[in-house]
Amino acid sequence: MSRRYWKSIEERDGGEDWLPADRDEFPEPLAVLPDAPGTLGRRGFLKAAGFGLAGTLAAGCQRGPVSKAIPFLNQPEEVMPGRATWYATTCGACSAACGLLVKNRDGRPIKLEGNPQHPLSRGGLCAVGQASLLGLYDRWRHRGPLKRGQPASWADVDADIVSALAAIRHRGGALRLLTGTIVSPTLSATIGRFMATFPNARHVVYDAISSSAILDAHERTHGRRALPRYHFGQAAVIAGVDADFLGTWISPVEFTRGYRDGRSLEGNPPRCSYHAQFESGLTITGTKADWRTRIAPGEEGPVLTQLAARVARRAGLAWPAGDVGMPPVPGAPLDDLAGRLWAARGASLVVSGCQDVAVQVICNFVNHLLGNYGRTIDINRPSYQRGGCDAALGELAAELAAGAVDGLLVAAANPAYDLPADLDFATLARRVDLLVSFAGSPDETAALAGYVCPDHHYLEAWSDAEPAAGCASITQPVLAPIGGTRAIVESLARWMDDARPAYELVRAHWESALFPRRIPVEPFETFWDTAVHDGAVELQVAPRESAASGTSAPLPDPVAAGAAPPEGALSLVLYPSVGQLDGRHAHNPWLQELPDPITKVTWDNCASLSPDAAASLGVREGDVVRIETGGPSPAAAALELPVYIQPGQHDRAVAIPLGYGRASTERFTRAGPHWLESQPGVGPNGLVGINAAPLIVFEGGTLRYGGRAVRIAPTGRRIELATTQRHHSIIEPRQVSSAGSRPIVREMPVSALSAQQPPPGATREGRGLWPDDHPYSGRRWGLIIDLNACTGCSACVVACQVENNIPVVGRDEVRRQREMHWLRIDRYFTDADESVDVVHQPMLCQHCANAPCETVCPVLATVHSADGLNQQVYNRCVGTRYCANNCPYKVRRFNWFTYARADAVENLVLNPDVTVRTRGVMEKCSLCAQRLLEARISARARGEPARDTDVRTACEQSCPAGAIVLGDLNDPASRVAALAKDPRYFQVLEDLNVRPGVGYLAVVRNRDADPGKAGHV
């Protein structure tokens, strides 16, 4: 019919492999069953489902989770959701009793700050004080009374104790109350009242970190067993002998503030005291000294004797000490020091932390010769911050050993943990029929006690304090007790059939005892309200007859030789670390993770050795060594600790921090993230660190922390210490170049200060490759840190952590160099081991105007604000970590895991104004952006421009030395603008031209210009 058209030869030829394109490729029907009529088959169903899904999606809506808003039923007038309320109270973290302001937000305290109106602490607050807030939310605290370890009701426990006490009273049995120093006048009075109801009762006070020898010495020289108040601010020459008064000794916040006053270079006129320090280990006080000398443990006596002899010679006093052999330190500088002290008579200060009464007597003698009593040392208005009497403790131990004690109450102390093995308190206490502990959270003593009557956390309690004569303050509760705890005063009063609550007891005591000593004439209501509102009041002090004249005191015996071990042998230095003190805050993860200011070790204690000592023993950092005292009880007298190599330490000293190895630190086993290669958060003993308190020596009526001879033997095991600053970083930069070293920290002798010209401003700004499109015409925030004031006490580190919800990452993560602190304190060593100088440099985001981090972020998660802040936007961050790599200061912190705490109670401490960061995002110092914003908003609400005096960052607020200043660099009237013109002003890594917003003031040493020492570290 028609012609056949073909498309290819194969088609035409009909090759069998040729597939005709016009044929259905799949001629056979698809292997799918046709749907039966009237039914919906599989395909139909799928279609229907698919269409249905598509339709649903097309018309679909989206909803987030429902959140609820539950208002108050009846809103109290002073409570405003979202606004913080501030209460003044007193810190109970140690017996220094600093003034506090508590930030209370929506009914819960979230931040502690120093109370600027408090006469002692004057606005500063130490790291321990800052961190003690977390103790409030500790879910391991006792929830109620315990009877033989089992929860019981208060009525039950009260009934038992009252009947047991009645029995003791009836038969005239011996009742002993063992406490730490009690600074609360109400509690003291109540204790007095309580003890008076017993025929044979005694109140024994001891301090885990004892200063008993000072009190004993003053009893001997001044006829009054009292701890004088030291006024470091009035001292032009300070000599410290084994006294870490800036770190842990008695009242460090108060002393730091005073010390800083005496070294205020920017003041008018500038002041710069001269500070000489003699010590065996390295303390932060030693790091600030103008002349620091290493002495062997136990050499305090000879040193002070030699000093006293030199001073006495100048005073024209014939004192036989001149015959004492050569001093353990070079004579010429000692002469120089004596000369300086003598020249500054009445404005000098010699302090010693030595626990040998004879040594303290010489110390008093020197101060007396120098006329310091009544000037820099006040014995008439003494301090009550250390009231312990070690001799009484010894007597109690003897009584216990004799089985002569029928009832023992223990409050505010943990003798089963912190007493030396010689006293063997734990064994002795078991023999007491009635052992009552008032411990608020589980401790070694409470574990022995038949009854535990837990005390409140101090933020839950009404109480008071008189840390120094004439300075009284109120402790007021800032939230209702979380558990069923009861204040000690209430417990004692209850056992005396006095059912008044603590508030009434305190108020009644104030009305009866403190109100009569008031200075302004006012009614009691006003007096009370002022005290509660301001937190502290000044009171009159009854002038007491004391042997302040002192001249009548006999000349002390020279101490020719201390307990110093023979040449070559090692001896112990047991010291409270800045974060742990005596271990009472061992449950506090903030403090456990706080790097020690000197060793930078976290989550562990270690035995520090000088580099030479370590070399001679053949041990390296992290080697576990066995420390043996050869004492009577071998089990308790040997410890196995990792070695830490500490430049600046005496070659014969083994320094071990106290406060570790506390029971209840086993909770940190699972601190930090858990994953394939994670390690437990505690040591091999299941606890954080090892308790060194058993090695304390009880001798001559005092607890002695230094001088015990030990032998050290390597065990062959190793532990990697969780340090935040590695040891090799100390050593290696010195080898960098011969021409000069890294200009990271600047240091200068005081003589060079006046010669220094202010740096010309033009050289700092305006050096750039490109046009400056960002003039910062309005406000530009800046922060200036005075390295001369900074002592490295690390209060700012914890303050920052609390304020900014910085997580605790645990020992394993710190070991992996992943600590999260936004603010760290870098410490740099200079010079050789004997005369090592240390500089502390708080390092935080420098808020560079030409920030290297910002340029490299791909998603604009870190950019600059109009007022000069380097902003980090967590919710925008995708976590490339490029910014952290490119940060020359390495201040950026990455959330490697979900570090957010799972503990619902502990999470109550979180600051609701700061985002809790998820894993995978970068974070860093925001210069407390939330505070800056709050200041701006409240200023606007008041209708006035925000001034930089309205706002302080958390670190600035807490700094006891006032070393940190925030302000507007563009405001010529601001403090920062003035400090930026100071000749000491410098920026770290200035050469990079990143134009930091954070600047530093150089360290000044009060010593003669020494070209070898001046310059850069």
Binding site: R63, G64, F72, R83
Partner: protein, 217 residues
């Protein structure tokens, strides 16, 4: 055969669906945008009545807006300032009065069921006195205007700058039940801040920052 039929029917259905949806495409929202959220509340509180008809000022109840980050949901004691006396709509009370006169008795106290929820929450008895048998229990309102946790919004500067409540919350005084009118996305915030800086707010110049740190820290 039937399979084809089903397909056709479903296709028609889908196209109808799409047609119905098409006009709303302009209103399509991205994830996280909860515009038009209008949840039912535990108490059927009418902003139309209170803010619209009765002209109660916004800040009378939401007094936190001037003093705190949060405007706040008013505590029930604020409600009781009026509702101690106002127990029901006026119409219901009058009707009872008329009825009482008619039946020659004292008029009963009329309590509307929604207002009764307030009394119940406060633990009040029938005579509006505290009833020990009833435990007070706060009202759990459902938040309408939600912001993510990483956004810090503060009412104070906005109130201080005379930004009207309606700018962000819409004409609440006309709403029986509160509905989210604005998108409350970051772009919406930022654009308003840009406009405010450019044109001012309420005839005053404003400096509304668009720095990240104004909201994220």
């Amino acid at each position: 055969m039937s399979s084809r039929l089903v397909t056709v029917v479903l296709l028609v259905g889908l196209s109808y669906n799409l047609l119905a949806v098409a006009p709303r495409i302009a209103n399509w929202r991205l994830p996280g945008d909860h515009t038009d959220y209008e949840p039912a509340q535990p108490v059927a509180f009418s902003h139309r009545v209170h803010a619209g008809e009765l002209q109660v000022a916004c800040l009378y109840c939401h007094f936190g807006a001037e003093r705190s980050r949060h405007a706040g949901i008013p505590p029930l004691n604020v409600c009781m300032n009026c509702h101690r006396f106002v127990t029901a709509p006026i119409g219901a009370v009058r009707a009872e009065d008329v009825l009482a006169v008619k039946e020659n008795r004292r008029p009963l106290r009329i309590v509307s069921p929604e207002i009764a929820k307030i009394y119940r929450a406060l633990g009040l008895g029938d005579n509006l006195a505290p009833d020990p048998a009833r435990t007070p229990e706060p009202v759990a309102w459902i938040t309408v205007h939600n912001l993510p946790d990483f956004v810090y919004f503060d009412h104070r500067p906005h109130v201080a700058a005379a930004v009207t409540c309606q700018t962000c919350h819409g004409p609440v005084e006309t709403m029986e039940r509160v509905r989210q009118v604005q998108a409350l996305t970051m772009g919406w915030c930022v654009n308003c801040h840009r406009d405010a800086t450019r044109r001012g707010v309420a005839d005053r110049s404003a400096n509304a920052s668009i720095d990240c740190v104004s909201c994220h820290f």
